[in-house]
């Protein structure tokens, strides 16, 4: 039986993702375009929030992916620590800037949404604060990656930082809850709850979330391929220099 660890082979990974990448990208574009158009033009305006409600189609998926990107980095780091597959470490590295961007999109769209609704761009609300802290974690993670020259050392150190950082990010998430009462509403989506946002907003939102997930997968594939190829190029150059 084929095992998932086969894809730890960089060659196999590139071959497979090469085949998948066009499909995933096309699907991501299709779902994003249809979801956003559906959301922006074919849903009614909220009776209280007016048209500003439509920013939900960017804000919620971005926030969701900001957290899930970190989760993916955590899993990839664990795989690197346990099984020492280089592709895994490179995938974690590739996901970090995407996650940071998603966090930033969530923060910025949140500010744009918060200004007309709450009357303020920024509030030290638990959710907002923990997202800012998450952004700082992303920055530190990426800075550590780029600060260390040796690839394996960098992979080891960043993966341990990712593990420790996850624990502390989680701690911060609940600590800020304790520290300040929130302005932000509770979770608007969950698997087990009957009540979500109203159905007219809910279905296009689901499409947008699917679009963001696909976009994230496509970008991670692409960036991981780039990392693998960059490393291969460096190895070839080094070999050439030795040969002379």
């Amino acid at each position: 039986m084929a095992s998932i660890w086969e894809y730890a082979n960089p060659k196999k990974f590139i071959a497979t993702t090469d085949k998948l990448l066009p499909w995933v990208s096309a699907l991501a574009v299709a779902t994003l375009v249809s979801g956003l158009i559906w959301g922006f033009f074919f849903t009614p305006e909220d009776y209280k929030q007016g048209s500003t409600v439509k920013i939900i189609y960017l804000h919620v998926p971005a926030a969701l992916m900001a957290i899930n990107a970190w989760m993916m980095m955590l899993v990839a780091s664990l795989v690197w620590i346990v099984r020492r597959h280089h592709v895994s470490a490179l995938a974690a590295r590739a996901a970090a800037p995407i996650g940071a961007m998603m966090t930033m999109i969530a923060l910025i769209t949140g500010a744009i949404w918060g200004q007309p609704m709450w009357g303020t761009w920024w509030e030290w609300d638990p959710r907002l604060t923990s997202f800012l802290i998450l952004f700082l974690f992303y920055l530190g993670y990426m800075a550590l990656w780029s600060a260390i020259e040796n690839d394996d050392t960098a992979a080891d150190l960043t993966s341990i930082l990712c593990l420790v950082g996850s624990v502390f990010a989680l701690l911060s998430r609940y600590a800020v809850n304790f520290w300040n009462q929130g302005l932000h509403q509770g979770a608007s989506l969950s698997m087990d709850k009957e009540e979500h946002v109203a159905d007219v907003f809910y279905y296009p939102l689901l499409v947008c979330i699917a679009g963001f997930i696909l976009l994230f997968v496509a970008l991670v594939f692409l960036r991981t391929q780039t990392e693998i190829r960059a490393r291969r190029t460096r190895a070839l150059l080094a070999r050439e220099r030795l040969g002379q």
């Binding site: 050392t153 080891d156 341990i160 911060s172 800020v176």
Partner: protein, 218 residues
């Protein structure tokens, strides 16, 4: 291990002002705050607890790179790694030495600096207790950050970027205890949370720090 502790303390006290520097920095931060926000004593009384915690945290951060940097440069870190003491123990001892030379003086100085900031009377007890419980966590977390960045030249700024987000929970609960104390509210819950964070950090983080140091020494 005791020899290592004594050596680290001796180095901190004798070599180049690492010992007093943190305290002096703390004093300067406290002295600069009224210049920044104005000398109204009502305002200062309100923010004193938070400022004292923040100042202690920054003073602690300032001295972190000393934990491993010198030992890394002169090679004694390699000797420590090959010594019969497990790396985890060596890291814990170093964190403890850092706390004795940085955290403890800060705790002792905090009430005096509280006078400067017009900290309300009932706030002194909770302030000292929260710092006493919280600064060990700062030292242990900082040791992890220092171990991460030990191999990087001019890693000081990176160290701050890595360590400060990790300090967030400690700061939240510590400052909350001090603030609630100053406002004569019940501060039992955040104090327990702070103690929990410190115990957890002391128990678990040395393993991470030791793993990171081993990678760096490879």
């Amino acid at each position: 291990m005791i020899a290592l502790l004594i050596r680290d303390i001796r180095l901190a006290v004798r070599a180049g002002g690492g010992f007093g520097l943190g305290l002096a920095f703390f004093l300067i931060v406290v002295a600069l705050v009224p210049f920044g926000v104005g000398p109204q004593s009502a305002l200062l009384a309100k923010i004193a607890a938070g400022i004292l915690w923040l100042g202690a945290l920054l003073a602690c951060l300032l001295s972190l790179d000393r934990i491993f940097a010198l030992d890394w440069e002169d090679g004694s870190l390699d000797l420590l790694a090959t010594a019969p003491v497990p790396m985890e123990a060596a890291v814990s001892v170093k964190a403890f030495a850092h706390w004795l030379t940085t955290g403890l003086p800060l705790v002792l100085a905090a009430p005096v600096f509280g006078l400067l900031l017009n900290l309300p009377g009932p706030g002194y007890g909770p302030l000292v207790v929260s710092l006493l419980l919280g600064t060990p966590a700062l030292s242990v977390i900082g040791t992890f950050g220092a171990a991460l960045t030990v191999g990087i030249k001019r890693g000081g700024l990176l160290l701050s970027l890595l360590v400060l987000p990790l300090y967030v929970p400690t700061l939240i609960f510590g400052a909350e205890v001090a603030r609630r104390g100053a406002e004569e509210m019940a501060y039992h819950t955040p104090l327990l949370m702070l103690a929990g964070i410190t115990c957890g950090a002391i128990a678990l983080l040395p393993f991470a720090s030791a793993a990171v140091l081993r990678v760096n020494l490879r």
